[in-house]
Symmetry: C2
Subunit: 226 residues, 2 copies
DNA sequence: GAATCATAAC
DNA sequence: GAATCATAAC
């Protein structure tokens, strides 16, 4: 056990008093808060935080688990909040790349939405993140893999009644998940776009991500021209 | 003993074939090569490499050691090469900060010249480095301390007949030096300009270095205006 | 010399 | 979650 776990509650302030952090909070209502990730791992990286005091404490594996009698009302509220977050995320991308045209951007082409299988921060949070992974804050293999492997639990996969959320969630199962994820973290790094294998060469991957970002964010402009 | 020490000879190509590396080499003659440090730890960071095949293998403590009958001809050649390097370094700084006026810059106010007490690369090299330590490549406490402590052997101090170069250079003495330097590396990080103590908070130091660099490189412009 | 990985302490 | 420190392998 760690001596001081207060950092694990770093997001709690945003669900408790979203009105106090106008520089960090992009949107809030009675049920959700949307904030910038303080250490963004891509050009756009937002967090969607359920404000419900029970839900916020739950594991992403548990909160939608079928054996746990999933709260369909909550699921639909969350999906609705994600729909509200999509244009916000797109707008953030357009701020970074003014040549992009907001109305023509397909969210699914540019973004991913999901939970980390083993979050470090205890308040339940959905990552809404652009696919580029172009960021100074992306500093380690673990950062990259955590968004480009089964460590990222796609929100829509999780909500479906599939293998992901039919696991028995007991401490044995959490131990198994931890073991799986450790294996996943040890795998090679591959480009999210073209699949090129960078093995453990993080620096080369970083250089390549610049090229891919230039391509996707310019390509769109070219498409618009033609 | 390390299994593969080839990285220690990374600078050898520049003294062997300076003409082959026009992108890296700023100046060379029959006795010296001046190159960009490949991982600059400040806005301007150059290396002066003696091309003599004996001198290049020597330790900075040994090459000027009085008990070792110092080669005064070599010393003077090196000092002359440093004099040639000074305007080059100043020019590099002006390229980064075009508001600076080349002719009015006092080298000693903006730069340091010296050896690392315990170099990682085996070819003898003098660092000519701007004092700012503002660089993305400055990533660790050791990087910073290595230029802001007795780990940096000031060239002119070393040439003087003083305590620094009167040490008996045997393996016992090298062991003592290594122990001293380890202590030095464990000390707090302090701002090179104002002396503010950042202890082990490297991130805060980095932020502060931005402020100090803005001040020194703008200050000069103000002086010129008045 | 840099970079990857593991490990505390917060 | 980030950041400091230590340790291999190159
Ligand atoms: Zn997380
Ligand atoms: Zn690619
Ligand atoms: Zn060196
Ligand atoms: Zn200062």
């Amino acid at each position: 056990m760690k001596s001081n776990n207060s950092f694990r509650s770093a997001l709690n302030c945003y669900i408790k008093h979203p009105e106090k952090y106008p520089n960090d909070v992009l949107y809030y209502d009675s049920d959700f808060t949307v904030v910038y990730d303080k250490y963004p791992k891509a050009q756009v990286h937002l967090l969607v935080l359920p404000r419900d005091l029970i839900k916020t404490t739950q594991s992403p594996f548990l909160v939608f688990n079928y054996k746990n009698d999933p709260d369909k009302v909550f699921q639909n509220q969350l999906l609705l909040c994600i729909e509200k977050t999509k244009p916000i995320a797109i707008q953030q991308l357009v701020i970074k790349f003014p040549f992009l045209i907001q109305q023509s951007l397909n969210f699914d082409e540019y973004f991913k939405v999901g939970f980390h299988a083993i979050p470090s921060l205890s308040n339940l949070h959905v990552h809404v993140i652009s696919k580029d992974n172009l960021s100074e804050r992306l500093k380690t293999k673990k950062h990259y893999i955590s968004f480009n492997s089964p460590f990222l639990l796609n929100l829509y996969d999780l909500i479906k009644n599939n293998a992901l959320n039919q696991r028995d969630i007991n401490s044995d199962e959490f131990f198994n998940i931890a073991k799986e994820m450790k294996k996943i973290m040890a795998q090679d790094m591959k480009c999210w776009k073209c699949g090129l294998n960078f093995r453990n060469d993080f620096k080369k991957l970083k250089d390549h991500l610049v090229i891919e970002a230039n391509a996707i964010y310019k390509e769109d402009r070219e498409k618009i021209k033609s």
